[in-house]
Symmetry: C2
Subunit: 296 residues, 2 copies
């Protein structure tokens, strides 16, 4: 009995070459059959780098959903706002959050040229965006799908980014305009979709999420580090355009407006790998993989 | 600006006393208003303890769904099968898995009186179980709800445990009867519900999941530890009834067949805490909290 293989052995199977008369039947085969045009290089001005002692986390920003937050975050990054600050919270099955541990006190760091309050950018008009709904029975939204590589939900009139694993958001207090992007969180647990339209999402992790998701949990209420010494120091956070070339990562993500992506969703809905005995025939928004490649 | 509080400040709010003419409006208030009858003490014969160097993880077993797997696991635990074995896999946003790293080799540990193959217990007849569906638009099942504190799905004829965060399952190879409970996994990411009815779930974590979910990721394919030295040693795994009293934990979980639980689902569907600006009005199965209390 090959016990070590176990669940989802399939991802390891070599992709089979695609014949003209057959469609790729697994994710590996779909990716193998993809062409250059299926992938999008993310420009450095849309990449935000978080440098930790353990490595680097890279986020893609979503100015098309949260232009004010993205602009403010760019200013904060350029001015080194986060340098030497810390991860202050790691709540199991929920979020990891970082910013200024002294934000509420007289010792709070200055926002420099940035602002400390921005109106919530919780949703937007779908006009002008290429929203591609998928066939899925969603618990929270009338339709769900993807825009420019980001998971989204809609009620027909409004379009919003969805709190899937790896999404990047701006913390806020109770007032809708009390966030600024200075205090950030990443979803590291089962999608807390009840936060959709209640918090501003403005990006997602493309690389290195395990550096955040595997942090020791905070131990205090809401996962804040009860022991200040356990907080995880941030070396710095920078936009790609402010980095030396040797620090930049060249990341390409699968486009979500292609036939290849539609096929990917389909092969994940109807799993044909040998391991599956009773394929679901269904898929949920946050279970759709969003492949990223590191270019040479 | 109270930036440190941020998301879900609410869980910290003191529960308000319930007046005869008002219903508790938050989870904290619902739990505060609960009575002894709303809670169930889990007997030691249904508790499985995993002892790690970092602490103890405690699982509640579900013999009503997977009697053969639970029986086999009880035998394996009683005979010390797992003592000195290891966590072999930590795949980000998916599962943590443990068992015999040499299971496929001549050095494999003996199963003792236990068996190494059990027919999959992927679903069962709902007859005889008190399944309580909730109102939720589910991506994967016709109805979803709870049975004896466990999340479940159904198509009307079959009932199955659902792969929510914290669920405990038996790894298997491709054959439906190739699992035994000797190789175990716990869901530590967004619910992989496409595994429902494809793998045998037979319990869930009641205590200590963060010891598994925050483990360093494996780095190898499928999250297996590429470096064998990074595997996490298991001290031992035991049934509660085989432990000395000072090692046993007294755990009570909220019953899911009560008005209190129905109210809990409702206050999580319609979040009334001040932080929420646009409450979802909806809830998804795996976002329903399943509170556990450690008794004195």
């Amino acid at each position: 009995m090959n016990v070590v293989r176990l669940i989802v052995v399939v991802a390891l199977l070599a992709a089979v070459p695609v014949m003209a008369d057959e469609m790729p039947a697994t994710m590996a085969a779909v990716l193998e059959a993809s062409t250059e045009a299926d992938w999008e290089s993310v420009p450095q001005e849309r990449l935000l780098y978080l440098f930790l002692d353990s490595g680097t986390v890279v986020f893609e920003l979503a100015p098309q959903f949260a232009p004010k937050h993205v602009a403010n975050v760019r200013t904060l990054a350029a001015e080194g706002y986060w340098d030497g600050l810390a991860v202050v919270r790691a709540q199991d099955n929920y979020v990891v959050q970082w910013g200024d541990p002294h934000a509420d006190t007289a010792a709070a760091r200055s926002y420099g040229s940035a602002t400390d309050r921005i109106d919530g950018e919780f949703f937007r008009d779908p006009e002008g965006l290429d929203y591609r709904p998928i066939d899925s029975n969603d618990a929270y939204a009338e339709t769900v799908g993807f825009v420019d590589g980001f998971p989204a939900g809609s009620d027909g009139e409004r379009l919003w980014l969805a709190h899937c694993y790896g999404m990047l958001g701006a913390g806020r207090a109770n007032a809708a305009d009390s966030g600024s992007g200075a205090e950030l969180y990443v979803v590291t647990g089962h999608a807390p979709r009840h936060l959709d339209r209640n918090a501003t999402l403005f990006g997602r992790v493309l690389h290195g999420i395990e550096l955040l998701s595997s942090l020791p949990r905070g131990g205090g209420p809401l996962g804040f580090y009860a022991d200040e010494k356990k907080r995880v120091p941030l070396r710095r956070m920078r936009l790609g355009t402010d980095l030396d070339e040797d620090e930049q990562m060249q990341l390409r993500r699968l486009r979500t407006d292609t036939q290849t992506f539609a096929r990917l969703v389909d092969v994940r809905r109807h799993r044909q790998e040998e391991w599956f005995i009773d394929p679901a025939g269904h898929i949920e928004l946050c279970n759709v993989p969003l492949p990223v490649r590191t270019a040479r």
